[in-house]
Amino acid sequence: MAGQIEEKHMQALTNRSKEVSRKPMSFMEQLYLPAILKGMAITFSHIFKKQPTIRYPEQKRPFSPVFRGLHVLNRDEEGRERCTACGLCAVACPAEAITMEAAERLPGEENKYREEKYAARYEINMLRCIFCGLCEEACPKDAIYLSETFAPANFTRKGFIYGKNELLIPDPVTEPEAYQKARGLKEPTTASQN
Amino acid sequence: MSTTEILFFFLTALAIFSAIMVLVSKNPVHSVLWLIAVFFAISGHYILLNAQFLAIVNLIVYAGAIMVLFLFVIMLMNLNAETEPQKHIWMKLAGAISGGCFLMMLVSLVRQASELNGKTALMAEGNIGLIKNLGKALFSDYVVPFEITSVLFLSAMVGAVVIGKK
């Protein structure tokens, strides 16, 4: 009784909910066969339905514009690293996943580093990172941003501590194609279906 | 030696070996399995005697139903070699000896029976074992016993249910 009264006042979330019937089954229902055949017709009709499957490595779902994947250390147009090892990102990181060591730019290295100071070592522990994107926001030099790459795989836990060589984007001068690809400018095959 | 004879002796040896194994197995489940082997051998004998129907009925009834029941019961009771009750060694010996005496007596009797000499069982021929002929005899001359067996079955069923429900 109480249940029924409550039900009346309860707002239905969907219109698909069905009341449970405790009536004794009629003869036709006891035969089961009609219901079984109905069910089989339903499953059979699914043979002709369109498959929603996305064949993953080949096909991909389009990401939303705010998707936050693995980090990338950016270069400028001339291929110089933008990071100046200010440490703001490491401060901003709530998971304390980022560490770095700064170094003075030596003469003759102007084509490699954009500022006088640069990060000699820059590591992100991907096992700690929560992909919140605060580092990206904290960076004054637009040196770090979050790409669309996700689900890294590795054999050891150490492998998940990404160093500079994993993080740095390819040089647009020496390897323009890889750079383009990493920037996502040259579209790879994406899932055509939704 | 003809094929029939080879098969006969093979099946005989199999049957006797399996029967002995039924006795000597400590584990009841092994006993059951060996007994099934005996039934298979006997079914083989039936086939050799061209009693096809009995051969297959033997398999269905004994191997397919009765022994499954045995296995069922043994498994339900979880009997195994450890829980197997053992008789005193002297009782075993006495049993084996008296059984052996029994066999010896009967064999010597059969050896004395001269009217059996020259009598043979027809092998692999003859159509009396076919289901058609058996069926005709069963439903004409033996129809009353046949019906009575159905009553027997019913009462056995009821009895088993009553005993089991207690």
């Binding site: 079984i36 069910g39 089989m40 339903i42 499953t43 059979f44 699914h46 043979i47 339905k49 369109k50 498959q51 929603p52 499957t53 064949r55 | 030696m1 003809s2 094929t3 584990n27 489940v29 092994h30 399995l33 099934i36 096809q52 129907f53 297959i56 009925v57 398999l59 269905i60 191997a63 397919g64 139903a65 499954v68 296995l71 069922f72 498994m75 339900l76 076919l130 289901i131």
Partner: protein, 349 residues
């Protein structure tokens, strides 16, 4: 040497036939596992296995290889000999059925008239019945030898289920036998091939339904897969098994399915009969090959129906299963038998 009296050529012929049929059955079973996954996928709007080979066609080999390569584990407390015997028995019993199935009419090869049936014994159906009743041993022994209570319970379930449904199956069968008047599968198929005669399913629709349901139960297929009820018994009677012994159990289930499909095809759907075609007008060899294809087609359809049902209907509860078997199917089968007998008597005058 009297041994020479054996017809050696016949022996070789039969051995070859046995080899072909056994391997073909295994092959089909192999692909049935694949088909199962594929059908399940299609019915659930997904592509299913499609990586190994074109359309995933090599998938069953990959599965098999995986099973073979797995570590053999025999539990310490298990009964070794019976533990090994179990899957072997299951597989043997499953394969033995194919001996009496008429795959097609005869072919003429090397001047010999070769019957495409291993043995046309005149009690073929009883033989099938006997072998089916033996199939339960594999499961029971395996389940018991595992020394695991879940396995044992599953084995007992399987045994009681098999015994229960065998009865209804046999009773349904008797009605067919009354129609055909013979126990030989070959004769039954030949009768259905006669012009002007319909397939037995037309005379025995109810009988077929009962037989079909019982066949499903005998094969432990959903909705009757109580012995393998994962949510109650972890995995079922083969819980302790691994590697190829597990493979045997899984395989025997598919072989059983094929064999029961073949038997149903022979009993109710004219076996290798091609509908609306008079085979006698064709060349014997062509007719034989077409016949095999026809039978295979029917088998495939049945297997598809098996799978279709599996992926549609949920599993029975145990008491429902027993109720269905004893309180519904057996009375129905008896009724069917009675009506069939009455009609036959009436037609005979």
């Amino acid at each position: 040497m009297t041994l020479l009296a054996i017809d050696w050529i016949l022996l070789i012929e039969k051995l070859v036939l046995i080899a072909i049929i056994v391997f073909a059955s295994l092959g089909i079973a192999l692909y049935t596992t694949f088909a199962e996954r594929k059908v399940a996928a299609i019915l659930q709007d997904r592509p299913g296995p499609n990586r190994a080979g074109p359309f995933g066609l090599f998938q069953p080999f990959a599965d098999g290889l995986k099973l073979i390569m797995k570590e053999e584990i025999i539990p310490n407390t298990a009964n070794r000999s019976l533990f090994i015997l179990g899957p072997g028995l299951a597989m043997t019993a499953a394969l033995m059925t194919c001996a009496v199935i008429p795959w097609s009419s005869h072919v003429e090869l090397f001047g010999r008239n070769i019957e495409l049936q291993i043995a046309d014994i005149n009690i073929g159906i009883l033989y099938v019945f006997g072998v089916v009743s033996l199939g339960v041993y594999g499961i029971m022994i395996g389940g018991w030898a595992s020394n695991n209570k879940f396995s044992l319970m599953a084995a007992l379930r399987a045994a009681s289920q098999a015994i229960s449904y065998e009865l209804a199956m046999g009773l349904a069968l008797i009605a067919v036998l009354m129609v055909s008047g013979s126990l030989s599968l070959k004769t039954i198929v030949d009768q259905q091939m006669e012009p002007g005669r319909l397939w037995n399913v037309a005379y025995q629709p109810l009988g077929f339904l009962i037989f079909f349901i019982c066949a499903m139960a005998e094969c432990n297929r959903t909705p009757f897969d109580l012995p393998e009820a994962e949510n109650e018994l972890n995995f079922g009677y083969h819980q302790e098994y691994s590697s190829m012994k597990l493979g045997f159990y899984l395989f025997s289930e598919y072989v059983n399915m094929i064999m029961s499909s073949a038997i149903m095809a022979c009993l109710y759907f004219g076996g290798f009969d091609i509908p609306f075609l008079n085979e006698t007008t064709l060349a014997p060899n062509l007719a034989a090959i077409l016949g095999v294809l026809a039978l295979l087609t029917k088998i495939v359809i049945f297997i598809f129906i098996f799978m279709w049902i599996r992926w549609t209907i949920p599993r029975f509860r145990y008491d429902q299963l027993m109720n269905l078997g004893w309180k519904k199917l057996i009375p129905l089968a008896l009724l069917n038998m009675l009506v069939t007998g009455a009609v036959i008597l009436y037609l005979q005058g």
